[in-house]
Point group: C2
């Protein structure tokens, strides 16, 4: 039998064909709700960017909270963003652009506001992060290392075949997609790997740094959040600096701009930004607190497997796979 | 050298490494704008569902136009939808649910409104369509037919390798993804193929039929539009009956519901639907007219290749691939 056929034979059966005695399937949401406290990780206050938009009708508060990416990802831009927040630079700026199925963007509408001292220019090389800096390892199939250079073609083909089976709990979920050699989740974040470097993919709710044409890489003062189908063609071309963990609906539900690229034509259409602060710079009692579900735990592995093969009552046919951008890392608010 | 290595060697180089003498690259939008009239296809009036929502502030009109899927896809549901429109059944109904990064859903809030005569129940088997009914053929690589049963594993691996090179113009773009053995575009619509059957994938803007638990398949009276990352796990589990071709922003920009699954808690939050008509049942002068870009033409093939490898000025690194849901078929309004 061929190497490929042997691989197929060696792989576990899809979960949907698993033991009939198995307990009734839980939905991904039920798995997350039942995850033990030990698998939740606290997000540091210095990693939370709190944006207060002007209240909506009837004074309804609109707060958006962004979790900044941890080192070693995009550290230059994240440093700039902390400086901008500490300088209260965004206070009085606005949401200037809402392009349907693409991004919501905010910053200084005049594009003339001076930046605070210490804002640095970050090189394009920082759009990606070396694998060894994040502890990522080449995927293995059935324990066989696939990293050797000459094995590139074989690795892709084997990963492709692996994709046709249920991701296995508790570890080892990898999937290749149209944009990367493989994708997985490490340390609470999705990564997309090409060659020896990783980048955080442009999934729904991810926050990136607006920029002009190369070699400009953006300062971090102009930010956007993804509000539609993941624009993965931006991966490795723009810095991802965070993800929206609360209040996404206050951005995604905004009226779309009617100018080019979804920019608002009139200043009156913009949503004012009242203030932006790091949670660590808010009075202790005002600090929002959040936790994310560890991507290395048992609950997350089961969440991935069920997202890839929904067996809860509504579903007739399991997908047999899942896109990295359909695996949002569960995040929850916790009482201060 | 191995069969796989031989394949790699035989494949064309990525376009980004193509002749330096090539003309300056066009963006996908520029390619579409320059497409000849001969590659645009008119959409029949009977295939356009025109939804007029209650005007927004200052009497601003909010019209959403949906292109119904052509036979042989979902024909039972589409027949029902034409009956419902002809009976003016949706007049006075409402948008009842807006769940962020998922769907906007509309229908009868009371769920008690009697359906018109002639509405049929459609079997679950109609969620997919046999390949031979739509003229789809198994993908071939370098002219070699990969359809033979025994070749399944090899086919997947070869398609995976093909995915690592630029899709070739003018024909033959196929890509496998996490949800289907391969995907492509035929007759103006994306298809996702598993086994010998195809389904239209749940991409942004696609319109599906709300249903209860199996064996219910929905009548077509309760519809939803996808407003976030493609929920491809719904493929083969729900009927897709169309796509929004105009006015998407009037759905995607609605305030999210705060009830379970994004349903509105109060009736006052719902967006009233004033009337729904087939364009063919509107007075000739009121009929909106649309065209789509042929997915079999040269312009579309170039559009796919450029979407997969952006070379316009903003981009530093081409993706080398593209997700089927990042290949919206270009549709344009034309003067009545």
């Amino acid at each position: 039998m061929s190497m490929l056929a042997a691989l197929l034979a060696a792989l576990p059966l899809p979960m949907v064909q698993a033991q009939p005695e198995a307990p009734p399937p839980q939905s991904p949401g039920e798995i997350v709700a039942a995850a033990p406290l030990s698998e939740w990780r606290s997000i540091e206050a210095r990693d939370l960017l709190v944006i207060d938009l002007a209240p909506a009708g009837r004074g309804k508060q609109r707060r958006v909270v962004i979790q900044l990416v941890p080192a070693p990802y995009s550290t230059g831009w994240v440093d700039n963003i902390r400086r901008l927040a500490s300088a209260h630079w965004w206070d009085g700026t606005a949401v200037v652009r809402v392009q349907d199925n693409y991004v919501v963007q905010w910053g200084d509408p005049t594009e003339k506001k001076p930046l605070p001292a210490g804002i640095r220019s970050v090189p394009e090389s920082a759009y990606v992060t070396p694998l060894d800096a994040i502890g990522a390892t080449q995927p293995t199939i059935e324990g066989r290392d696939l990293s050797e250079r000459a094995g590139q073609a074989a690795r892709l083909s084997e990963i492709a075949i692996r994709d046709t089976v249920t991701p296995r709990a508790p570890q080892g979920w990898h999937e290749r997609d149209s944009y990367a050699e493989w994708v997985e989740l490490i340390g609470g974040w999705p990564i997309a790997v090409s060659g020896d470097a990783a980048t955080i993919p442009h999934c729904y709710g991810m926050v990136g740094v607006g920029r002009n044409l190369s070699p400009d890489t953006g300062s971090g003062a102009e930010l956007y959040a993804v509000i539609g189908q993941a624009p993965r063609h931006l991966d490795r071309n723009i810095a991802i600096v965070g993800r929206v963990v609360a209040g996404m609906e206050h951005l995604s539900g905004l009226t779309r701009g009617t100018g080019d690229l979804g920019f608002y034509k009139r200043a009156s259409e913009r949503t004012p930004i009242v203030r932006v602060r790091l949670a660590s710079e808010l009075p202790a009692r005002e600090r929002p607190r959040f936790e994310y579900l560890s991507t290395e735990g048992e609950a997350f592995a089961r969440y991935v497997a069920e997202r890839a093969n929904r067996r809860d009552a509504f579903f007739n046919v399991p997908a047999g796979g899942v896109d990295i951008c359909n695996l949002p890392v569960p995040v929850r608010a916790v009482a201060p």
